[in-house]
């Protein structure tokens, strides 16, 4: 049995977490509270003090002025009481930075759900188009816990304006009317090109029986091969093709760095540079002579120790031998973003029935 010092990260992390459990009396408390219909919880001194401070601020300091003129103060107030911070946050229905304007167009609320239309417009250039993607940079601040999502609903070519619909639903089912919402974006992607059903010509007969390969640090992946992935995850290492010089192929923004066999399985390898400024990705599949499709067994994302941190590598692995591949063709669909735009955009608006 391995000592703690000989375990890899995955094993160490598991070993640590196995020692963490809720006290049995906590479980009992929960079930009793549910039965009695109220939560059994003492009021902690810290909560009393925070509430007292909030009251002190409201009655002795011109909070609305401070909140309007001092973003730092608003941040501090947010840490004391998010509800109070949002209450005093000045309404700001539009914001402009880097030649791009974010604006609240309209908001409607019904019960526990509000829907808000926001527009993002390029005032000086051509950075917004129908493929604009907020790249997970959107942030939402509300006083209460909500489930929110934001999606693109329309793009106007003439005005270079993208319209988004933000939907927010209170988790406690209570009315959301009267709340103030702060919505922010820090970057977005656009000019995303889809390369649909690209056929990659491969001469299977000319591939070596076993291609040069090496171990790499596993950073993520997925697929149907749950047991294989589980073993790879525990080991933290995965066997992948040794990258070659990128082959010429039509997908700009994704490099094809290898196709070959490892232990009788087909690997197709790609690499993406500057991953913090794009979301270039895709997937492969095989088609036989009859047009029947075979998906990959799993994808493994990995890196080598010498890699730049902004480089992302992937092997797509198929459970297909060279003999089984006769007559088959390799295909893929990919998405590559063309423009990455940064800025500080933030709007705050009330939600009213």
């Amino acid at each position: 049995m391995k000592g703690v010092y000989q375990l890899n990260f995955s094993e160490r992390y598991e070993h640590m977490n196995r020692q963490v459990s809720p006290a049995p009396e906590l479980k009992t408390k929960i079930l009793q509270a549910v039965e009695s219909g109220k939560k059994k919880r003492g009021i902690r001194p810290a909560a009393v003090l925070a509430a007292a401070l909030a009251c002190l601020l409201v009655f002795t300091v011109p909070v609305c002025v401070l909140a309007a003129e001092n973003p730092g103060f608003n941040s501090m107030l947010y840490e004391v009481s998010p509800g109070l911070a949002q209450f005093f946050k000045p309404v700001d229905l539009s914001c402009e930075d880097n030649g791009i304007r974010l604006e609240v167009e309209s908001a409607a609320v019904e019960g526990d759900t509000c829907q808000v239309y926001l527009t993002l417009q390029d005032l000086t250039g051509d950075r917004i188009d129908e493929t604009v993607d907020l790249n997970d940079s959107a942030g939402i601040r509300q006083a209460r816990d909500c489930i929110t999502n934001c999606r693109l609903v329309e793009y106007e070519e003439e005005t270079k304006t993208a319209r988004f619909l933000l939907t927010s639903t209170a988790m406690d089912g209570g009315s959301i009317a009267g709340d103030k919402i702060t919505f922010s974006i820090s970057n977005f992607l656009s000019h995303i090109t889809e390369y649909k059903d690209v056929e990659i010509p491969v001469d299977w007969e000319n591939l070596p029986q076993e291609s040069p390969s090496r171990d790499a640090v596993y950073t993520g992946g997925g697929g149907a091969a749950g047991e294989t992935l589980s073993e790879i995850r525990k080991a933290g290492l995965v066997r992948v093709l040794k990258p070659m010089e990128p082959a010429a192929w039509p997908v700009e923004g994704i490099e094809l760095t290898g196709i070959g066999f490892i232990n009788g399985q087909l690997h197709v390898q790609t690499a993406v540079k500057n991953v913090f400024e794009n979301d270039n990705h895709g997937y492969f599949w095989l088609e036989d002579r009859m047009g029947n499709r075979t998906e990959c067994l799993y994808n493994a994302y990995f890196r080598f120790d010498e890699d730049d941190s902004a480089l992302s590598r992937q092997d797509a692995v198929f459970d297909s031998s060279r003999e089984a591949l006769r007559g088959s063709t390799l295909h893929g669909t990919f998405w590559v973003s063309g423009t990455f735009t940064e800025g500080n955009w933030e709007v705050t608006f009330p939600v009213q029935e």
Binding site: Y13, V217, R233, S312
Partner: protein
């Protein structure tokens, strides 16, 4: 009476089944055991108060994980409260018997909170990148980037692999 007994038993089963999952995720995000205790109670209290309906057990699991993360975020927001906690006497700090494990815990707490969540769900809950992305409401590419960055920050533990 019989229906009520069955419902009670089901509630107990839900708590039994997901207790450790909820608690360990909360503990991975927060500094103290007391905070984890609070979030743990809050999550199940919300579950029983809302009585949400689920299409599958996976759905229920995902809901509990999401609510746990939301409750942790709410707790982080009260940094004034954290300062008060340090002044309290007898504050319950959790210490592992093994100093190496304590060191790992300290290193993990130094990670940005968003990285701690992906590390926990990926390495301990054994979720795929896509599943982690769905729970946390992020894109798979964001999750992969955060895992990469977390591994760099914890390089000592991965270099030894």
């Amino acid at each position: 009476m019989e229906q009520s007994t069955c419902a009670d038993q089901f509630q107990e089963q839900v708590v039994e089944k997901y207790s450790e999952m909820v608690y360990r995720l909360a503990f991975s995000q927060l500094r103290s055991k007391t905070d984890a205790d609070d979030v743990y109670q809050e999550v199940f209290f919300r579950y029983f108060r809302r009585q949400p309906s689920f299409q599958s057990e996976e759905h229920r699991k995902a809901w509990l994980l999401r609510v746990t993360m939301n409750c942790c975020k709410k707790l982080w927001a009260s940094s004034w409260r954290r300062k008060i906690v340090f002044w309290e006497e007898g504050e319950e700090t959790f210490s592992f018997p093994d100093p190496e494990v304590n060191e790992l815990r300290e290193q993990l707490l130094r990670l940005p909170s968003s990285y701690r969540a992906v590390v926990h769900l990926f390495y301990f809950e054994d979720m795929s990148v896509e599943e982690v992305a769905q729970i946390l409401g992020r894109k798979p590419s964001t999750v992969r980037t955060q895992l990469t960055r977390a591994r760099r920050l914890l390089h000592k533990y991965f270099d030894e692999d």
